[in-house]
Amino acid sequence: MAASHGRGASRGRPRIPMRYALPVLLLLVMVGMLLVRGYVYSSFVPDHRVRPPAATGHVPERILDGGPVIDARDTSKPAKSLRIPDRTIVLTFDDGPDPKWTPRILDILRKHGVNATFFITGTNTSRNPGIVKRTVAEGNEVGVHTFDHPDLSYLKAPTIKRELSQTQLAIEGAAGIRTALFRPPYSSFADALDDKSWPVMRYVGSLGYIGVFDTVDSEDWQLPGVGKIIDNATPRHGKGAVVLMHDFGGDRSETLKALPRYIDLMKSRGYRFKTVTQALGAPSAQTPVRGMEKLKGKAFVAAVTVSDNVTKGLIGCIAFVGVLVVGRFALMLVLAYVHARRARRRERGGGAPPPLAEPATVLVPAYNESKCIANTVRSLAVSEHPIEVIVIDDGSTDGTADIVEGLRLRDVRVVRQHNAGKPAALNNGIRHARYGIVVMMDGDTVFEPSTVGELVRPFADPAVGAVSGNAKVGNRDSLIGAWQHIEYVMGFGLDRRMYDLLRCMPTIPGACGAFRMETLRQVGGMSEDTLAEDTDITMAVHRKGWQVVYAPEARAWTEAPDSVRQLWSQRYRWCYGTMQAMWKHRRAVVERGPSGRFGRVGLPFVAAFMVVAPLLAPLIDLFLLYGLVFGPTGKTVASWLSLLAIQLVCAVYAFRLDREPMRHLIALPLQQLLYRVLMYVVLVQSWVTALTGGRLRWQKLRRSGVVASAPATTARRDRADDRRPVA
């Protein structure tokens, strides 16, 4: 017991490697941005309740019968009620600032030489700091109208305090001042105070705020017409008034039209326009802030601004992704249909090329495949097409070559070499090949008897230089297996049919592909330049002007990675390898002839769907979360489900084309949720590698081959995971 503890301790604490840290950091930043945005744009618990009127037994009479301004700051004395002097108007605008209407109102006020008081909310302030700054600079007053306009009588004291202090923070950040004025949301006249709202006013007073109610309500938010607004806002008998108007909350054009006429009318009646404190003859309610306070406010407003912009960018991205994803699915469905129909017509004999009788060489590179190699070779022995089999033993230490030789099969040769990596093994095999068509497969893959024939058949067209087969997942009953099965069926059944017709097949899977010997000679065989030699060579074949086609009936059965770890390292290799291959063939973009066509059509296509789109895909899930937390929940779930439905339709079609039973599709929703996240992290990791350590790795790769350069994986798996569903 003690010994094992000691061992455990000496192993040291596991550190979080960079490859997890960076993607996670990126995600966290995005989540943080969305949280700030969610906080500002909607409260955590959307709360639009307004309390019905309650009893008024506990509200002092002099408050109910008194003026619109309530000063309850000194808790040791009863609250004071203050009136506006006669012939004085205090214009107040609630709920703003609004980016459209508030500046126009300010213009009118300035033109008429009039000041008003704006009761602003924290959310709108943090979104429009510039307007608040201008409001204050032009001599108007601002007051706190809470952060997101809840009915305070439902809230507890700490929440009310937070509502006010955060609004104050936003105002500090926007205009560099604090204000002592406050107006509760959903308030009206002071005589409307009741036993529920009065304690709130007492509490807010104790925090140092002066409450400002109104005496005349223009009711402009009901859009009653310009004349009616003016009429509503006109006090009777020359009395002083606090007039309520709104600069936020929809169409304010009536308010805007009424305002100049109203000001002129009131001025002609001898009224003077003042702010709250001016009207009361009190010192300004606004005090400048400095130092830390101001910095904090600025930081808050800046965070909101940044998150606003980032979110706008993200929304743009998600729209882009949506178009890309849906467009791709539509394109795939159409092209897959066309491809399948052509294949069917060919099968019926309409213009089908005569079956090629030419025998083929099958290359089986093997490294420590003792468990599978016998099955692989036996499956080849029953091939319906005439073949020779060359097993290239890449320095196995488990007797792989001996097993093959022990089978004593006709037409099966074993070539032994020192361990030099898969590309070298394949090149070695190519040197030994006798026939004009070379089929390549993996040491743990099983062919059907007709597979080689199906792979060879398209070569009847002399323009075809390479053929991709159809890799199938054998271990499809585990969860990860089922996910990959769905991925493979869609990747081969739809993607590859599309790539075939668009002439930009990015990859011939290492597990199942065939090349014309002449083509191989032209491109110089397999290369060790990238981690994905299959993508590399396929691109090279395109650039030489050969066609690459997909043979859906050429099935090869493989065992997919069955742990997240293995899957991770496989996908990392593919992803990074594809990036390497694209970078290697980047010159194709500017070249002429077939190479240029591939470079200008195929490469951007592959880049869009394999590198850019998956990078943005997790936004879908991020916004799903955002929508779930901040709402609208129903719409969010509905749109996510409809995206899922589109996926499902495509998947069903792909399964039908491949004549696969549909039952595995039940794993699709979970696959969409979890797999996408995994693939995203892998992709980001590849990007990080490409942008930071890319060159270094490349160098190392040249010396030690594939085995050494794929991260965190066993040697056997490294060599065995070369069948790729997409690209």
């Binding site: 094992s4 099955n375 979970l670």
Partner: protein
């Protein structure tokens, strides 16, 4: 003609051979391996205990204690303890019923369950009587006295006063309510044990029907199509809520999970959990996302969650190295599950007056708000030593009930009571007993204690 993959060591199990050459119509070799099973091991291999299940039970117990202190409702989602406990109990019940007759099994279960509960009952009822409570005042008259029998055989809810007097005065008046809070589980467990022979027969005849039945019952009760009032209604609701988990335990014992591909169970389970969350989102209580108060949400979420846990079920003969240091704790928790479960809520109540003593420390008033804020944490710290005392003082009743030699501290270490019992004693079949949150808010109790 050979079949690819046929007889390979790599793909264990009887691959469905469909030699391509023999069937002209067959276009592909049938190499799909059978479900990726847990390496063909039977659950809880004969004799030894399945340490995976033991670990789950220990986690469930700890989660229940933590939940009853902090009232974090999200804990009910993170780990649905009750569903897990009932599933484990169901699995063990199916195992016993496969080995012995129903009457003997039920007798054995009841014998293990009730004596520890009687000890608890004697303490609680004794204290209540001493403080002047009389059961006839509860339901009134003769019913009240009859209902006291539930303290002996809890087929219904045992009566207690709320608020309750306390002879020493330092416990909060809700103490009886809090103490009796966990008893609903005993009642539900008893119902399940009594119903098991019948349900198991139904399950073996038609597994899906047996699994669906409690869910349908739960849905019927939750949608208000049928409302059963009062105590029996709660009993039926509990039965319906966790019945599916119990049946899932049967399925685990019978090895049903191994016959179904993993992708299928996990996917279906995730749908079930999503449905549970969806239902819960529309039926939030005043406590928010407390699944314990949302029966159908709890039933679906627990069923999905437990399905995944049991599908994963690695059938550990011994704990993996990483968990090895928790071995004594896990063993102890499993051997004293009833004791821990029955007493933990009362002991949580007891921690508060103990923490109150801190106010007597001179100068503590300066840290008054900090002390106020840390009551829960202090309670969590204090409850474990109290539970340890309860285990030492009262735990051996569990051994007596199981007709075993009494032990003070059965954590699997050999020194206990001078007798080498090996890693784990074979019994402890009673499936542990966590609790759902007591039905009454315990906030008051805490503040009262402060």
């Amino acid at each position: 003609m050979s079949t690819p993959y046929a007889g390979t060591p790599r793909l264990p199990g009887p691959a469905r051979h469909r030699a391509a050459g023999n069937h002209p119509g067959a276009t592909r070799p049938a190499i799909q391996p059978p479900a990726e099973t847990t390496a063909g091991t039977a659950p809880a291999a004969a004799g030894g205990r399945d340490r995976y299940l033991d670990t789950l039970r220990a986690i469930a117990l700890v989660r229940v204690v933590v939940f009853h202190i902090f009232s974090w409702t999200w804990l009910t989602i993170v780990f649905p303890s009750m569903g897990v406990m009932f599933a484990l109990a169901g699995s063990l019940m199916a195992r016993s019923l496969s080995q012995r007759g129903a009457a003997r099994v039920i007798k054995g279960r009841v014998r293990r369950l009730l004596p520890p509960m009687w000890v608890f009952g004697v303490f609680v009822v004794g204290t209540l009587l001493y403080a002047g409570w009389h059961p006839s005042r509860h339901g009134g008259g003769i019913t009240g006295i009859v209902s006291v029998l539930n303290w002996i055989v809890p087929v219904g809810a045992p009566p207690y006063p709320d608020p309750a007097a306390h002879p020493w005065g330092w416990l909060d008046s809700s103490w009886a309510d809090q103490a009796a809070g966990p008893l609903w589980y005993i009642r539900a467990y008893l119902w399940f044990v009594l119903a098991s022979p019948l349900v198991l027969r139904l399950f073996r005849k038609s597994p899906w029907a047996a699994l669906a039945l409690p869910l349908v019952l739960c849905a019927v009760c939750s949608t208000g199509i049928v409302t059963i009032p009062g105590e029996s209604g709660e009993a039926v609701t509990d039965f319906a809520t966790y019945g599916a988990c119990w049946v899932l335990g049967f399925a685990h014992h019978d090895g049903l999970f191994r016959g179904i591909p993993r992708y299928l169970t996990v996917s279906c389970a995730s749908f079930m959990m999503a449905a549970g969350l969806w239902w819960a989102s529309g039926h939030l209580t005043s406590e928010g996302w407390n699944l314990d108060e949302i029966p159908l949400g709890q039933a679906l979420w627990s069923l999905g969650f437990v399905t995944i846990l049991l599908q994963v079920s690695p059938s550990w003969k011994r704990l993996p190295d990483r968990l090895a240091r928790f071995d004594p704790l896990i063993t102890l928790a499993n051997n004293r599950a009833v004791t821990i479960y029955l007493w933990h809520n009362l002991l949580i109540m007891v921690t508060f007056p103990i923490i109150d003593q801190a106010w007597n420390i001179p100068g503590i008033d300066r840290f008054g708000s900090e002390l106020d804020a840390s009551y829960s944490v202090l309670s969590l710290v204090l409850v474990w030593p109290l539970l340890a005392v309860a285990i030492v003082l009262l735990g051996w009743f569990e051994d007596l009930a199981a007709k075993r030699r009494p032990r003070l501290w059965p954590n699997g270490r050999t020194r206990t009571m001078g007798r080498a019992t090996g890693r784990t004693p074979p019994a402890g079949r009673w499936a542990g007993e966590p609790v759902r949150r007591p039905r009454h808010d315990r906030e008051e109790g805490r503040h009262g204690g402060a």
